[in-house]
Each structure stands twice: as structure tokens, then as C-alpha cells.
């Protein structure tokens, strides 16, 4: 802890004496807002500070260190070219209050990115306000609600498959709807019969991830779309798994009305460690009036980009300024670097890599639903249960082999689930060694299950007590009691 390294009076900075007279603190702040005592901040030299955080950063796992097959998260490589573009002073130092006339380049970048992403998704317009996928979901659902309300037909329920991400029902509830779960069939796909039965005149829409969280393409999507539309509902596309179809199929052509993308997944912007992310939301033409305000417009006559705030039917603002601009900028670089043919290759290789890896570990960790997958697959570690080994033990052991674990215990419809997404950026050699590690772990489970239960053995922190941490959450450091208590 940085607090434990603190020594009174040590400083990482030194400021010169002020040589101008300014107002005193007493003049600036009323007494009620002034601290009686300075805050208890750690006091360190610059070197101690740098060493401390460098050491911590070296204990971190990151995509720049090794493979990160965390299912549903698309932890692909983030090209350094995008980082370079984002750190150009003309981009980095922009202020969101800058006059439109002075930032035409940045606005053009957003406008061009919108066009490109609309083309990739088959949507008419897109907003960049949502800061990540879940906020995109909320925005889309608020638009769904505004649309039905404007038609004088307020609706209560939103249908969600049982394999959906947990954010879907949460967003539905937050948007003031009721979530209605619909089952998967024996193929792991939406049960069309059950869906049709659930579609009543109080259904606002269906939220669907395609391919779904089992890594399977919803082959009945045309019938699903027709059924939802016939019942007066809207179709929402959760873009979490867009990486597997980008450049190949467009959600708009499948019949979706609302689409969110996770730029921090499909479009290779940094992901994890607190983000920031970006979850742009696209809509078909009839939903355009409800988009968050303001909307970026190109004035052909004046040859000028500007923000249109005159949006009377808009659901309003859902983020300060225009979203996470730096992230959108990185996605723009990624798109322009790859071009349409490159994007298609992304999807094709992501699917190829997942199927290759799946085939290599199929015997030890069979997939819950047989057959080819898309960009990810869900295996089950249930076979190891008889040895007292759980999916979590397999994953902890994988850390010792130098891999980030896959997602586990999700989706809930698969027992002891291991959800693996290698992404297109991993080489065949990396996939081979990941498969070798998983197969060796399956052998170890037979011969020495205790090894798995006590893993990881190579990390600075072994196995935290997750249950105790959740039951007795303490996120604030307090000094140790000098008398020996805690």
C-alpha cells in the first residue's frame, strides 16, 4: 500500500513560492467547505512513488503481456498506431467547449466514423454519447420506450433470451420495462415457438445478441425479426459479439432496428482496467428523432459540421459532451487502417481461431452444443466434478501457464461453463500452447486434483477469498493497530 511507504515530510514535488498575490483561501471558500485539517495523504519521494506503481503495473496481466481469451469480452490487440494518433496534440488537447468552427477536423472525424459504422451495421444514424455497452443498451431502450409512447401505444415488457448478458435485464429494468425471459432450445438458439407465444401487444421489443453468448449464430433471425415486428415490437441488437460478423453480415439487414457497438471490443480500443469504453448506438430511420441530443450535422451549403440541439423528440442527453472522443478516434484509426476487406478478415479469422482452439480441446472440455461455433465457444468442465475439480480451479491453474483465464460460469445455461474467445489477433502458436495448457490441466485433474485446487502457485497473490471479500467488503485502507489487532 502506498500509505505504508509514507514518511512525514517526504515530497514527490516542489513548487516555487507564488510570486503573485492571489485571493486567500478564506476569500475563495466559505468556512463550511474548508477542511479543519489537511487530508491524510501518503508522503513519498518521486522515486518511491514511481517504483511503487511500476511494481504494481508489472504484476498486472494485460493483452500486451499475453493472451487473454476472456469470452464475450473480445480482448484483442490494441494497435499502437491508434494510440499514436490519439496522442497527437491537436486531438489530445481539444476542449469540448471549443467553438464548432475551430474543431471542424474533429467533427469531421466523428461524422466519418458515424458513416462508416452505419454502413457496417446497416443503421441510418448513430450517437457516440454512450460510454460503454450497458449505457448503449439503456439509450436504445429509452429510445424504444419513446417510440412506443410517441405512437400512443406504451408497452411494458422486453423479451430477453436466457443466454443473454446480465446487463440486458438490468438495462431493461433501469429503462422502466419488465424483463421477460425466453428459453433456448436444444440447439442453444432462441426457441422460436416459445418466443412467438410470449409476443403479446404489451411487448416493446426483443433484445438479442447474434451470435449469442454460446457463440452460435441465431439462424432463425429472419423469422424472429418478422415475428417481433408483426407483434408491433422493435428488435435490439446487442453488439457484444459483433466481432464475428463485422464486414460479413449487417444487423440492419437481419431486421434489427437498434444496434449498439462496443468499440472497445470489435474496434480494438483499450478494454478493461476501467476503460474508458465507447458504446455508440445506431438506429433505423424511423427512430432517428429520438436519438440523444445533440446530433452532428453536415451543412452542404456552408460546408460546415455543427451540433444540432433542436431535437424536440430526443430522449435527451445521456453523457456529457460527445462521448469518449479519444476512444472514438482510436476506432476511426482502426477502421481506416483495415478498410472493408481487412474488417471482413477480422471476422473470418476470429471465427477460424475459435473453431481451431475448440477442436484442440474438445475431448477434455466438450462444448455444450456440438458443431462449429462463431468467434467464441462455451465448453464445460463438468466432467471434472467427480474429481472435486471445478471450472474455477481449471482457470486458476491456467494462470500458472501464462494465460488469462476464460470467462467462467457464464452463460448460466451451461454447467461449469468455460467461455473462450481467442480473437483474431492471436497466432497459431499461441493457440497451440493455450490448447496444450488446457489439455495438460485436464490430465493434472486426474492425477493431482489438489494441484488445481491450490492454484495459482506462481502469482504474487495466490487465491483471494472471494466469498469473504464479497461478504465483508473493505475497500478503504486503515492503519494497522500498533497493539496487534487488525
Amino acid at each position: 500500500m502506498v500509505f505504508e511507504l509514507s514518511r512525514p515530510g517526504r515530497r514527490a514535488w516542489s513548487l516555487p513560492e507564488a510570486d503573485v498575490d492571489g485571493p486567500s483561501l478564506e476569500e475563495l471558500l466559505p468556512e463550511a467547505h474548508r477542511r479543519a485539517q489537511p487530508p491524510n495523504l501518503p508522503e513519498l519521494s518521486e522515486l518511491d512513488l514511481v517504483r511503487h506503481y511500476t511494481r504494481l503495473s508489472q504484476r498486472n496481466w494485460a493483452i500486451d503481456v499475453g493472451a487473454y481469451p476472456l469470452g464475450s469480452c473480445t480482448m484483442k490487440y490494441n494497435p499502437k498506431l491508434s494510440e499514436e494518433a490519439a496522442s497527437l496534440p491537436g486531438m489530445r488537447d481539444l476542449h469540448p467547449f471549443e467553438d464548432d468552427d475551430l474543431v471542424q477536423g474533429a467533427l469531421e472525424l466523428l461524422g466519418t466514423l458515424e458513416l462508416a459504422l452505419c454502413e457496417a451495421t446497416g443503421m441510418a444514424r448513430m450517437t457516440f454519447q454512450p460510454a460503454a455497452g450497458a449505457q448503449g443498451e439503456l439509450t436504445g431502450l429509452l429510445i424504444m420506450r419513446a417510440y412506443h409512447d410517441a405512437a400512443g401505444d406504451p408497452r411494458r415488457r422486453v423479451i430477453i433470451p436466457d443466454s443473454a448478458h446480465g446487463t440486458n435485464p438490468a438495462s431493461v429494468t433501469l429503462a422502466g420495462f419488465e424483463a421477460h425471459e425466453t428459453p433456448s432450445d436444444e440447439r442453444g438458439l432462441v426457441d422460436l415457438g416459445a418466443l412467438r407465444e410470449a409476443l403479446a401487444d404489451d411487448v416493446a421489443g426483443l433484445m438479442l445478441t447474434n451470435p449469442n453468448t454460446l457463440g452460435l449464430f441465431e439462424r432463425d433471425i429472419a423469422e424472429i425479426a418478422t415475428s417481433v415486428h408483426d407483434a408491433g415490437g422493435l428488435l435490439y441488437y446487442d453488439g457484444a459479439n459483433f466481432n464475428s460478423i463485422v464486414g460479413l453480415v449487417r444487423p440492419g439487414d437481419m431486421g434489427f432496428d437498434i444496434v449498439h457497438l462496443n468499440l472497445h471490443k470489435t474496434f480494438a480500443t483499450p478494454h478493461g482496467g476501467g476503460g474508458p469504453g465507447s458504446g455508440p448506438l445506431g438506429v433505423v430511420e424511423r427512430l432517428e428523432p429520438f436519438l440523444p441530443s445533440p446530433v452532428l450535422e453536415w451543412d452542404e451549403g456552408a460546408e460546415r459540421w455543427s451540433w444540432d440541439h433542436d431535437r424536440p423528440r430526443s430522449i435527451g442527453r445521456i453523457h456529457s459532451f460527445h462521448g469518449n472522443f479519444g476512444i472514438n478516434l482510436r476506432a476511426y484509426c482502426y477502421l481506416r487502417s483495415l478498410g472493408p476487406a481487412g474488417l471482413r478478415q477480422v471476422a473470418e479469422r476470429a471465427v477460424l481461431n475459435a473453431n481451431y482452439l475448440r477442436a484442440l480441446i474438445e475431448e477434455a472440455f466438450p462444448t455444450a452444443y456440438p458443431g462449429p461455433c462463431m468467434h467464441e465457444f462455451v465448453s464445460s468442465a463438468a466432467r471434472l466434478k467427480r474429481l472435486g475439480v471445478r471450472a474455477t480451479d481449471v482457470c486458476k491453474r491456467l494462470i500458472d501457464f501464462g494465460f488469462h483465464p476464460p470467462t467462467i460460469y457464464f452463460p448460466l445455461v451451461v454447467e461449469e461453463a468455460l467461455m473462450v474467445e481467442p480473437t483474431e489477433t492471436e497466432s497459431k502458436e499461441t493457440l497451440d500452447s493455450l490448447a496444450a495448457a488446457l489439455n495438460q490441466i485436464a490430465d493434472e485433474a486426474e492425477g493431482d486434483p489438489e494441484l488445481l485446487r491450490s492454484a495459482p502457485i506462481t502469482t504474487p497473490v495466490r487465491r483471494p477469498d472471494e466469498a469473504r471479500a464479497a461478504r465483508q467488503l473493505r475497500v478503504r485502507w486503515t492503519p494497522a493497530d500498533p497493539d496487534g489487532g487488525s
Partner: protein
Amino acid sequence: MTNLPGDRRYTRAHEWAMESDGRILVGITDYAQDQLGDVVYVGLPEVGTMVTAGEPLGEVESTKSVADVYSPVTGTVLEKNSEAEQAPEVINSDPYGRGWLVAVDASGSALEELMGADEYQQWLEQEVDS
């Protein structure tokens, strides 16, 4: 394979219900707690809340996932187990005893419509096989 007392009735969503002093006690089964793993949080309805058979009455969160608890009966919540709220590990250690969740007004509920221990055991075997 799992502990199933014969003194209560069971649901397909792995809850149990038992009559006790004119009230219906509700909890989750040993199988359910085993599947969830270490329970870290339980969200229960306030006393006086109307619950409906087959509708969610609360939720149980473990280090693995969050699961809705579906009410086996229809009625009004008379009491919730504050011990389980404070120390949710009792749901793991004693799911049929100290890990009960709520007590519901018995009137209007037909426990015999729920499964007995044998029938639930069969349902479990079927579900685990599939």
C-alpha cells in the same frame, strides 16, 4: 446425491416450502446452494409484500452468479430471515434450517400441488442428465 428432507415440498426452480406454526417457510434447496457456490448476498422482500407463486420473490447472489428466487406459494410475507441477510453463508451451511428465507401467510396456498421429495429427486436426475 443431495440432501432432501421428506417434511417439505419442492419446486422445479429448486425452492422448498414447508408449513410451520400456520406459516409457510420458504428457502432454496441443497442442490441450489451447491450449484450457486458461496452465497454472498441475499435480497429478500419486506414484511407485508405480496408474493405470487412462480414469480420472483427475491434474489440470491454468489461469487459465481445471481439467481432469482421464485416464490413456491402465493401470500403475504410475514417475516424475513434477517440472519440469512446478515450472514448469507447460512444458506450454504444449512439450507433447510437456519438458511430459510421468508415466512409467508399460509392462507390460499396449496402445498400439495408442489413436488414431494421423491418427485423432486427424479426431476433433479432428469435435469442433470439433460
